[in-house]
Symmetry: C2
Subunit: 459 residues, 2 copies
């Protein structure tokens, strides 16, 4: 936003090569704002801007840009500038960039890193995609059990700048295994010759490096921590994850689930950043699947063509009946998918959920059945639209509504369990998907009830 | 989980009054696990358990319990125990408890606090519900500009235990205004006689105390911080908010939005914790509203009864047509509501969004139109179900699909803007709500096209 206002002034400074003013104007800016401002400039202007910024500020600012802008910049920058930025970036943000690039570019970039940074980058890329290993940073402070408090404080003075957090200092044994998690206030409070092993720790549960990032979100929520240690399969401390990175993961996961629930594939980027072609692709597939499912409704209605011919009035209520089933199914599936994502409901709970939804579905169905009954009865006292057998029609509608809502609620609630049991993503049971499924079965319920109730009168 | 396994053993220890073992078993446990275990016990057992726990552990554990359990415990505990726990709780968690209780209970509990804690609690409760003020804690470390580094370190040694974070030390001027935000490593690194005013800060943007918590989530995401300072209208530092609390807010907001998108009111508690009555209440209201909307479809179809009578085949495609509009509307509304919640799309973007969705809707509609056309044409080469005028019918279906999908996409995308412009929650434009709206208009589109195309042949 602010970038759009300032862009002309910055362009002026850049075109006039007035680098002194440029530098002095922006040294005081928060990095995130600097990055926002940069994204409104052309890539050539960005390159110049980066050359003007101090060394570490340049890398920090680069970390805040989205991957597309980062990639464009890497192409446009001179090799020296690329080397400086890549080596200075924090390892977790660098991993996030590298995992989006083609393998050939990655190996090219890795060669630009110093041997130490290259080793770090490669080890992080070895962890499975979407795991905590790809999210963590190895920039933490670990000290030995046999260290003195004074040694720890000296160590922090020397290495503290590199660490993502100083709230917590990790204590490891000789083999690198995590043994304790001590708040920094402990070190400041205790006599300088005290041994680390005596300090009171907090026995925090570490994250396993291979755990999916979604699970890490739930662990963070449970323990209310700002940072958690990450250990490998041998319980060795390999990194830390901070709550601000977890917040990004949580928001991304929610966005994906919401988009899937809306009956589409999740977008790869923010809405305004994707092309129309991307937007169409992500939506067309599911729209076509749902369309194919819905063509079944036409066939089913075709089977009841004789009944519709005999009583056209039946056709009038088709949208009302099937959408009531779809709406109740949409509610149930949404509730269960979100509860599963939050870890509130697991596969083992299917029986409890089924009992609850059966009850809820019955009450909801009864409410709509009464409304439907009243609607036709009241209407029929003023109008002849529904013919002499309006009361039988009202009964048909009411019974169908009850059946369709119970069935919709039940299938909406159970489908996520079924999908999860089959190893699929429960969010595939989107609201439109459940609605389509319930539409097809809802028609069968409706016409079956109609034939039973109206035989000998309307039919 | 683990609580269910251990509960019998704990019950034994409690009934045998073996408090020494009880205490020794659980002192090493992480607080969050202790709280989880406690929630599986009866309230009387919980009270005994709390009496056994060390003073501060008791308060910490209490903070992790949900509000219902907390309330039950407050009722069951002796006054002395309540006083100890309430005074020891961290102010932000205490606010979260107090805001859920009836006013009479709150004033009773406030009287149990020490004058200092009472002042803190009352000032926090004065901020509007859902604002950053209700989320923050006043437990931070603030130092003066004219202090020396050594004074700051002494101050941290004395008061550091109470602060929620030590990563960052806040610098304030004589009137309490926030002037800087300095990482603790700076203090450890610099000579002890250096003045605080000389230290390099990070010029972080503070949160305003009255800002809604949802907005704070987006600010945290932008700045990637683990903690942000909170200032009042006079720029005075009044508290801090940590990223772990923001994570909870983000997940709650997403849950609310997801449930609303599913066509229901948001639940007050996790799915398995609410009663069936609550579940029915939160769903029935919207189901009834949508039902009322859908009864309009019956009236509209009634207006076209003559056409359906003449060509029953038209009725067969009603579910297919209207659900295609509903599905595309559901996709569009879901995308826009989420993009709004993330701050990616604001009210001013309505024009860009409309242009994009008009294009996307056209392509999506064209795809479904071609599918629909092919479906009827292929079917008609094998069957006589659609009569001699099957090609005109196919044209009707294809044109209607295009119209309905474009209209569904456009209304699904624009409705959230309209609601937000009117000051309402955009998430009210749930998928089922948009689908219902599009069903009604979709029928009009379909029958209008049918009359135009089929006049003189089928109609």
């Amino acid at each position: 936003m602010v970038g759009k206002l300032l862009a002309p002034e910055i362009r002026d400074m850049i075109s006039q090569r007035d680098f002194v003013s440029l530098r002095s104007v922006f040294t005081d800016w928060p990095i995130a704002d600097l990055a926002e401002l940069l994204s409104d400039l052309e890539v050539e202007e960005q390159v110049i801007f980066f050359r003007v910024l101090p060394h570490t500020t340049a890398a920090d600012t680069f970390e805040y840009l989205d991957v597309d802008t980062q990639t464009a910049l890497l192409h446009a920058m001179g090799q020296e500038q690329v080397v400086a930025i890549l080596n200075e970036m924090s390892p977790d943000d660098r991993t996030a960039l590298l995992e989006e690039l083609p393998a050939s570019v990655v190996s090219q970039l890795l060669r630009l890193l110093t041997p130490a940074e290259r080793a770090v980058a490669q080890s992080l890329l070895n962890y499975p995609e979407g795991s905590v290993g790809r999210l963590m940073t190895p920039d933490f402070i670990a000290v030995g059990e046999e260290w003195k408090v004074s040694e720890v404080l000296d160590f922090i003075r020397q290495h503290g700048h590199a660490s993502e957090t100083l709230n917590v200092i990790y204590v490891v044994d000789a083999t690198g295994r995590l043994v304790n998690d001590v708040r920094i206030s402990e070190f400041l409070l205790k006599p300088t010759d005290m041994l680390v092993s005596v300090l009171q720790g907090r026995h925090v549960e570490p994250l396993r490096v291979t755990v999916p990032q979604e699970d890490a979100v739930q662990i963070f929520r449970k323990y209310d921590r700002s940072v958690l240690p990450v250990v490998d399969s041998e319980a060795k401390l390999v990194g830390i994850v901070t709550a601000d990175d977890i917040l990004d993961v949580a928001e991304e996961e929610s966005t994906e689930d919401i988009q899937k629930l809306g009956g589409m594939a999740a977008l790869d980027d923010p809405y305004l950043d994707v092309t129309i072609a991307h937007l169409v692709k992500k939506r067309a597939i599911w729209l076509m699947v749902l369309f194919a499912g819905q063509t079944v409704t036409a066939s089913i209605m075709g089977r009841y063509q004789r009944e519709i011919d005999a009583a056209v009035v039946l056709a009038l209520f088709v949208p009302l009946i099937i959408s009531s089933g779809g709406n109740s199914g949409s509610q149930a599936t949404t509730l269960i998918i979100r509860a599963m994502a939050l870890g509130e409901v697991t596969l083992r709970d299917w029986w409890i959920v089924m009992r609850r939804e059966l009850q809820a579905g019955f009450y909801l169905g009864a409410i709509l059945a009464i409304l439907g009954l009243l609607r036709i009865c009241i209407w029929s006292t003023f109008s002849l639209a529904y013919g002499p057998h309006w009361f039988l029609l009202a009964i048909t509608i009411a019974v169908s509504l009850l059946g369709v809502v119970v069935w919709g609620t039940l299938s909406g609630a159970m489908l996520p369990f079924l999908l999860k049991r089959l190893g699929l993503d429960p969010a595939t049971a989107s609201a439109p998907f459940v609605a389509t499924l319930v539409d097809v079965t809802g028609l069968v319920i409706y016409f079956t009830v109609a034939i039973l109730v109206l035989r000998g009168t309307l039919l």
